[in-house]
Symmetry: none
Subunit: 196 residues, 2 copies
DNA sequence: TACTATAAATAAGG
DNA sequence: CCTTATTTATAGTA
């Protein structure tokens, strides 16, 4: 989890032995073919789970390695979902501004050639040909936007601060909105799900 | 694996029993705390592995569910990596154009709402598939995306909050430090720029 | 980079 | 949403 706490770990350990393993024999994961899931309902469920998992992985990458990231997903119906750190917009902007330069290592498409995920191997084919691996000059402990920030003009700093603030506000209101909804649903007890 | 084939499955089963388990006793995965990996080399390895894994997950999401996707990752050093289907640029463009339209309510970084009024050119071009039929009956049963939104819930929100907080702290301290220096420089020297 | 022991993600079914 | 059975993803090492 991207969210972790030392506290909860101990609790888990306590709980484990106590837990009753009701071996409701039966189902379980199965290997699936890497092609479009035909059954409509199954596909939806898979989409939902996997999108969530993807975002989580993205978050972890940021937390563990100090990376910035933007993930945008369109469901087959055109619904959009995105995840970003610090924000999708910010990362996208960076990405586009660097579009001209060529310090990129892209995969599965990018500025030209299309390599098709639908063509079997997502692993080797899609993963960038970039092997120009780490020629990183061990700057130890400094994220680029941090070291970079020193050279920025106040104007840029202000822009970033604003971005941060906006994000925070969005976050706050989203939380509020959700909590509100949850409570109202709870209050309506007898009723069904509150339609949105 | 994103790559799979009916053929290789059988092969696997044949191979399995033959494989010699050289139990080189010892290591193995361990749970790690979800915070920045301090050891430089480890962090880089993790970044590399996880980035790869992330792209693969993205690919699978597209293949299995017929989604479009764009993933952009900046290493802490500022190197860019991206994955996209059909193309990162294409997906980003869609994303941005939609952002302009009536701003739907975002969930933090997420926008979860409808869109497809116009001609789904991506339907045909980008995402192969879609047996016209099944794509339509979305009326019956609980709407899958409801489950989706609810699934976001606290866990995801908490994760984001944590990321936000960390970023804010980083930003804040960086800003503070810089401003502090600038002002002190200005105060001490009056007007001239002080070389760093 | 290769490999193993484990932690995680997730396909099915309830 | 849950739970379980497995498949995957990977942290730690050599």
């Amino acid at each position: 989890m991207c969210s972790s706490s030392s506290a909860e770990q101990q609790q888990d350990q306590e709980a484990e032995p106590i837990r009753i393993k009701k071996k409701r024999n039966g189902t379980g994961r199965k290997k699936i073919e890497m092609k479009k899931i035909e059954k409509n309902s199954s596909r939806k469920v898979a989409f939902s789970k996997r999108r969530k998992g993807l975002f989580k992985k993205g978050c972890e990458l940021c937390r563990l390695c100090g990376a910035m990231i933007a993930i945008i997903v369109f469901s087959p119906k055109g619904r959009v979902y995105s995840y970003g750190y610090p924000t999708a917009d910010f990362v996208i902007k960076q990405f586009q501004s660097e579009a001209d330069e060529e310090n990129q290592y892209n995969v599965g498409d990018e500025r030209g050639s299309i390599s098709l995920p639908h063509e079997e191997n997502c692993e080797t084919d899609c993963v960038s040909e970039n092997s120009a691996t780490e020629e990183e000059e061990e700057n130890e402990e400094v994220y680029w936007w941090e070291e970079d920030i020193e050279g920025l003009e106040l104007e840029e700093l202000e822009r970033r601060r604003a971005c941060m603030e906006e994000l925070r506000d969005n976050m706050a209101s989203s939380l509020e909105e959700i909590m509100e909804r949850r409570f109202s649903e709870r209050d309506l007890l007898g009723n069904d799900r509150v339609p949105r």
